[in-house]
Symmetry: C2
Subunit: 208 residues, 2 copies
DNA sequence: CCATCAATGTGAACAGCTCTAACTATGTTA
DNA sequence: TAACATAGTTAGAGCTGTTCACATTGATGG
């Protein structure tokens, strides 16, 4: 009868149901996919009735949007962390960002898909875009360092976008099992490095 | 009472329920997204009871897999058609394939997503991969013409894969509304052309 | 210290979903 | 024409997300 979590004030009021539902959603989604995830499951996992979540989220979609936002934020942090392990503004630091991106997708494929499936978050897309822009900024700043520009100019964006496109595509192909459709499977890290070299304006520290 | 389709033999036996369900699914998916699509809706649209589809498809997923297979096949045809409008084995013909790819994604975003979301088709992935390989072959053969190789060698694949990755990523970014996250929106055709030039081994008709 | 109020839980119920079981109508073939 | 396979039906089980009225609690002001 008594709830066997950490000591509760009441066992009726839950403490942090909101946060607990988000993390329950996260793990359930990664286990069974976003379609295999049900509000009821999350409730069972959190030990509350199926009506409880609606004090914290307007709908199931609303909860999923929260999971997506959280994912975008964590992705940005990991990109920055990975880049910081190399000399800034180099092919190495830029492709490190790419590896962080693809690794995230492989580690949390369902969350990754959720982060970018705009349709699933109708009504809160702008909110999500804002978080996404924050993470994209990590790449933009790194490319600016590479080309030696102080601000995020149009040229920086034009140079960065193909890189994003490439790792984004690689991520989806990876999580959808398309890296070995031929007899010669793709090496992810090598693939990122080569593409970075080819897509970036030639010459280290070039002006574009 | 009488069904107001084309003349029926019986109005009980339906004629081509299987085909009609697939095309109903296609249009419903494109209208409301794959999650907004319900078996019941498809039945209403086809004018049969909700139990009828299960004579033709093992499950809802099974029907969706059929839609995905159909999509992959049509994509391949469109790639080939687009390429054939240019001198074969050139940057032009190769980027024409890329445009066909991205255009398909934009025209049928939900079907496109379905075609690649492996998880949704568990149990029939190999079947789907086979159709996908057929379409991928269009690109592989075109790259082989470009590099002047007679067969689909490892080098051909290594040259083609980054191109696939690029248009695949561009497709997803496009359908998820990410082409204008910055103040400088992306021009799709130009983006494909530039990426093709940079990712392909340098020099027309080079050997790799 | 108590009354009140907002916040956050509950249980019951609804409509809609996928899918199954048993039954029925039809087309084909011996 | 009898028998059989094919392809529909209705009824219903067991899910789901969501809402409703109600219950419990923590915090606040008298």
């Amino acid at each position: 009868m008594a709830r066997n979590k950490v000591q509760k004030k009441s066992a009726y009021h839950h403490g942090d149901l909101r946060g607990q539902l988000i993390s329950a959603a996260r793990s359930l989604i990664e286990e069974h996919g976003p379609d295999g995830f049900s509000m009821s499951d999350a409730c069972r996992l959190a030990g509350v009735s199926t009506a409880a979540p609606y004090r914290h989220f307007a709908s199931k979609q609303d909860l999923l949007t929260e999971v997506a936002k959280d994912g975008l934020q964590r992705l940005g942090v990991e990109m920055e962390d990975n880049a910081s392990e190399f000399t800034r503004g180099t092919v190495d630091s830029i492709s490190a960002i790419g590896r962080a991106y693809v690794n995230f997708a492989i580690r949390e494929p369902h969350t990754f898909r959720l982060m970018f499936s705009t349709r699933a978050h109708s009504g809160r897309i702008e909110e999500l875009r804002e978080v996404g822009r924050g993470s994209y900024g990590v790449l933009l700043r790194e490319v600016a360092r590479y080309t030696g520009e102080a601000d995020i100019t149009e040229s920086v964006i034009r140079n960065a976008f193909p890189l994003w496109t490439q790792v984004h595509g690689l991520s989806f192909l990876a999580i959808d099992g398309k890296l070995d459709v031929t007899a010669f499977p793709v090496d992810i890290d090598e693939s990122i490095l080569i593409a970075t070299e080819r897509l970036l304006p030639p010459g280290s520290q070039a002006k574009a």
